[in-house]
């Protein structure tokens, strides 16, 4: 009887022990399905190894199925390209271009109008052309500055202004970059429509390049409305602008049809073309302002001095004199917009 009484007293404790043991039993290896497809740790570990090439993805309930990618080994190469290669290429290209231009200015100086200003002008660009140019220029300056911040800001600006200011500036810059891009794309399209016909390569351009484009020495090779160098800058701007716009809108809207590898390719194209185009435009700005006397008037007032036009675009001046002599003034005309 004593034994039965003792069991009665211990019954609640025994029951409690059995209940606590139940979840532990459920975790024992016997209850695990060894062939379950959701657990393949070896596959996970193999994919994590350097050089692994297998993409591991699962299923997600959100519309963007790309979010289901757990491991994409190519992302490691992409990260190196984005964080290391593009900034290096950008630094070499941009600093190299500035150095070349500085050396050129030191040795060649400002290219003057050899015959001096004639006092007569010729219409170089109408108001629509200048409007398209300045729309592309102002938007590109904003896009370039905010884009360069994404490439170099972390290493150059962040240590100077601190994380809070850098975060605010970069976020604002990202919005400006996205919103202003539409103006740039429209301006590029407008410039293409207006000026493509005058920018196709010709034999005259080959002779222009062969003679150094008038940049070396005092010889001015003949050129039509646009010389070989201007055509290079035009096509770099048009094709580069198209590549930047296309890759930029892929990154902005992320179409579901484009896989992660496509987004990474768009990021690399956007970064590389961006830094190269910045360097090209630095050269364009140099030759249009500091580097050549009288060149800025073409986009400033729309009219250039006749002697400047004869020296740099002699074939074009002859054509205008024959077809539209009214575009050549007999005396200096007031600047457009004055």
């Amino acid at each position: 009887m004593n034994l039965i009484a003792a069991l009665h007293r211990l019954a609640p404790a025994i029951l409690a022990c059995l209940l606590m043991a139940a979840p532990v039993a459920a975790q024992q290896p016997n209850s695990v399905n060894p062939t379950a497809s959701s657990v393949k740790e070896k596959q996970l570990l193999d994919a994590l190894k350097p050089g692994g090439s297998e993409i591991l993805s699962g299923r997600v309930s959100i519309p963007d199925s790309r979010a289901g990618n757990l491991i994409q080994p190519a992302g490691r190469d992409f990260r190196v390209t984005q964080q290391d290669t593009i900034p290096k290429v950008g630094a070499y290209v941009i600093i190299g271009m500035i150095a070349v231009l500085a050396l050129f200015f030191m040795f060649r100086g400002r290219i003057r109008i050899e015959g001096g200003e004639s006092g007569r002008t010729i219409e170089r660009f109408d108001s629509v052309g200048r409007y398209a140019h300045w729309t592309a220029a102002t938007s590109f300056i904003l896009l370039g500055l905010t884009g360069l911040n994404l490439v170099f800001g972390r290493s150059l600006l962040l240590p100077m202004i601190g994380p809070e200011a850098f975060a605010s500036l970069t976020q604002a810059g990202k919005f400006v970059h996205n919103y202003v891009s539409f103006a740039f794309a429209l301006a590029i399209a407008l410039m293409f429509v207006m000026w493509a016909k005058d920018n196709f390569p010709s034999a005259i351009d080959m002779r222009w390049f062969a003679q150094g484009g008038g940049l070396v020495g005092s010889n001015h090779p003949p050129a039509d409305r646009f010389n070989g160098g201007q055509k290079l800058i035009f096509w770099a701007t048009i094709l580069g602008g198209f590549a930047l716009s296309a890759s930029g809108y892929v990154l902005m809207f992320k179409p579901p049809e484009i896989a992660i590898a496509g987004l990474q390719l768009a990021t690399v194209v956007h970064g590389l073309v961006g830094v190269i185009l910045v360097a090209v435009i630095i050269a364009h700005v140099y030759i249009g302002t500091l580097g050549m006397e009288g060149a800025f008037d073409a986009m400033g007032t729309g009219r250039v001095d006749l002697n400047w036009a004869k020296e740099h675009h002699s074939i074009w001046v002859d054509k205008v004199a024959m077809k539209r002599p009214e575009d050549i003034s007999s005396a200096r005309a007031p600047a457009a917009g004055e």
């Binding site: 959100i62 519309p63 300045w134 400006v176 202003v180 103006a183 301006a187």
Partner: protein
């Protein structure tokens, strides 16, 4: 000068216009997929461990 100022105005107008259109686009997308997946509400008060400097 007129061409330059017109260009500046165009960039500003297109920029502000794009900001309104894209924000509306984002809001529409948010509403379309409301309740799907994990999404943090815009006015949610998030708390966490303070960053130690």
């Amino acid at each position: 000068m007129k061409a330059f100022l017109s260009a500046l105005l165009t960039v500003a107008i297109i920029g502000f216009g794009a900001s309104f259109v894209l924000e509306r686009f984002q809001r529409t997308a948010d509403q379309s997929y409301a309740g799907v997946g994990t999404r943090v509400e815009a006015d949610a008060r998030l708390t966490g461990t303070p960053v130690k400097h």
